[in-house]
């Protein structure tokens, strides 16, 4: 049994434990919470553990989706969907775009793998075990989930209301535009205007 199997075994057990504990504590919503929390933390753990940097990046998808799920549970579905749209559909895709093209470098990542992950996973498992063994009384259990109400209208009004955040909103927009233009400028291929077109088509005869 190698360390990888051990890790994924522990991860699976932790998932079952998290969902089971959630269900015992708060029924269906608890189960959903346990699942989302497990996705979030499990994705993060895999991200640290995995040697392959691309797998690490893919595991972030679990984290992002888990966070989105937590937002849903907290009754904020606009935020949840924004989270998925921006983080999974946009940022993660770009991240993968970059990471896929980078050469693998396993040595750098092994340190984090041995040290950080073990400590983190151990601490997490210990915490959960302690919590369960100490009884779930200490947990904060919401008796009812908040009602989901899309705050889209509220957010929109807040952004466009001169008395609230319209200045900040517009400033952020300008900042992002400037950042975008700057990024394009930096990433652009530099063109040198010297060296005339002599051997361009001539090739190697």
């Amino acid at each position: 049994m190698n360390s990888n199997q051990l890790f994924y075994g522990a991860l699976g057990l932790a998932g079952a434990g998290a969902m089971g504990a959630g269900m015992v504590a708060a029924g269906g919503p608890g189960l959903a919470f346990g699942f989302c929390a497990y996705l979030t933390l499990g994705g993060a753990a895999v991200c640290i553990w995995e040697q392959s940097i691309v797998r690490s990046a893919f595991s972030l998808m679990g984290t992002f989706l888990g966070v989105a799920g937590l937002f849903v549970l907290l009754g904020s579905d606009f935020l949840a969907m924004a989270q998925i749209l921006i983080y999974v559909g946009g940022i993660l895709a770009l991240l993968l775009f970059g990471v896929m093209l980078s050469p693998p470098d396993n040595n750098e990542r092994s340190l984090a793998r041995v040290g950080g992950t073990t400590v983190m996973i151990g601490a997490g498992v210990a915490f959960i075990v302690a919590q369960i063994s100490g009884g779930v009384a200490g947990w904060l259990v919401a008796d009812q989930l908040p009602e989901p109400n899309s705050q889209a209208r509220a957010i929109g009004l807040a952004f466009l209301d001169p008395k609230q955040y319209v200045v900040a909103f517009e400033l952020a927009a300008y900042l992002l535009t400037v950042a975008l233009v700057a990024a394009v400028y930096i990433a652009r291929r530099r063109r040198a205007d010297f060296e005339p077109e002599s051997e361009a088509q001539g090739g190697q005869s």
């Binding site: 989706l65 549970l73 969907m81 946009g90």
Partner: protein
Amino acid sequence: MLALMQNGGGALAQTPNEGTNFLHELLLWLPLPEWIPGWALILGAVGAGVGILVGLVSLIALWSVWMERKVSGHMQCRNGPMYAGGWHGWAQTIADGIKLFQKEDMIPIGADRALFVLSPAIVLASIFGALAALPLSYDWYFARMDLGIFTILAIGSTTTIGVIMAGWASNSKWSLYGAMREAAQVVAYEIPLGIALMVPLITLGTFSLLDASALQSGFFGMGWAIFQNPLCLPAFIIFWIAALAETKRAPFDLPEAESELVAGFLTEFSGIRWSFFFMEEYAAMFLMSAVGAVFFFGGFESPATYALRSAGMEGTIVFSLVCFVTLVLKAFTGVFLMMWLRWTLPRVRIDQVMTMGYKYLTPLALICVLGAAIWEAILHVVLN
């Protein structure tokens, strides 16, 4: 799991006072023993919803594949499938499906097995999740969502991750090219897609697909957004181009560009895994067409629903059915349009795709939004 979570979110989002999930209602209505807890009912509803979704996606794919073959066949002076099942080869896709199930499950030696196996699941789960947000009729829906369109776009965008995963896990250079193209293309076209959809959203003033449809019921069921605001037509064209790019359909089928990249991210896939990607593609086509139908072409509304409503049949099962059929017909008109374009146009080049997305579609979509906003302002503020 993803679909479950999504649906769980949706089901949990039910509030007792308004518009609960009809599956949940059904389960509540059934004479079930008392000791079954409420959450089990919710889970049951979720399970049934997932079952219906899987069936729906399979049906859409089955029908669409057959339709694609017939459409392409007739456009190319062929008949397409004619034998399987008897009448015009209607059972061809079923036969193909059975064949695909029986095929050897191949994973290349150098492939990243875990990701290779996971990628079709992610792709399929994302389309399930997105389709779950699509109402099938005024009272047939999996989850009543105020943010329906936002949800569809968000969850639909996770397909990209599955495709990138497939491309990377295959450990083939052609697949990697496909994955890179997919990443670049989808990120580029999500922007004009979303912005173009803002035009009907401004016109109708809602994110909800149900509300959007209901708001287009005027003029004998023809008060469609495209007739309400002149900017909707250019916005629809932009939306449609972006939707083609999002669903990887020709002329934007660069991720799988079979004459350039062999089959792109699909190169190493075979059998049932490959068919999952195929199902996703057709389901996504249906979904995008349905979204276009709901936000530009009246959704469930048509003279037929108007007539039924005038006859006081609103709320009956017949009315629901007519709404459903209306939407499906509109959506499949869109699917047909996609097929028509695919079998007519050559493929564009990646730099042209990027140029079109960033340089033309996005600014044009922004102008459309601005115009739509001005139009609405004139209509409602100035003229009022």
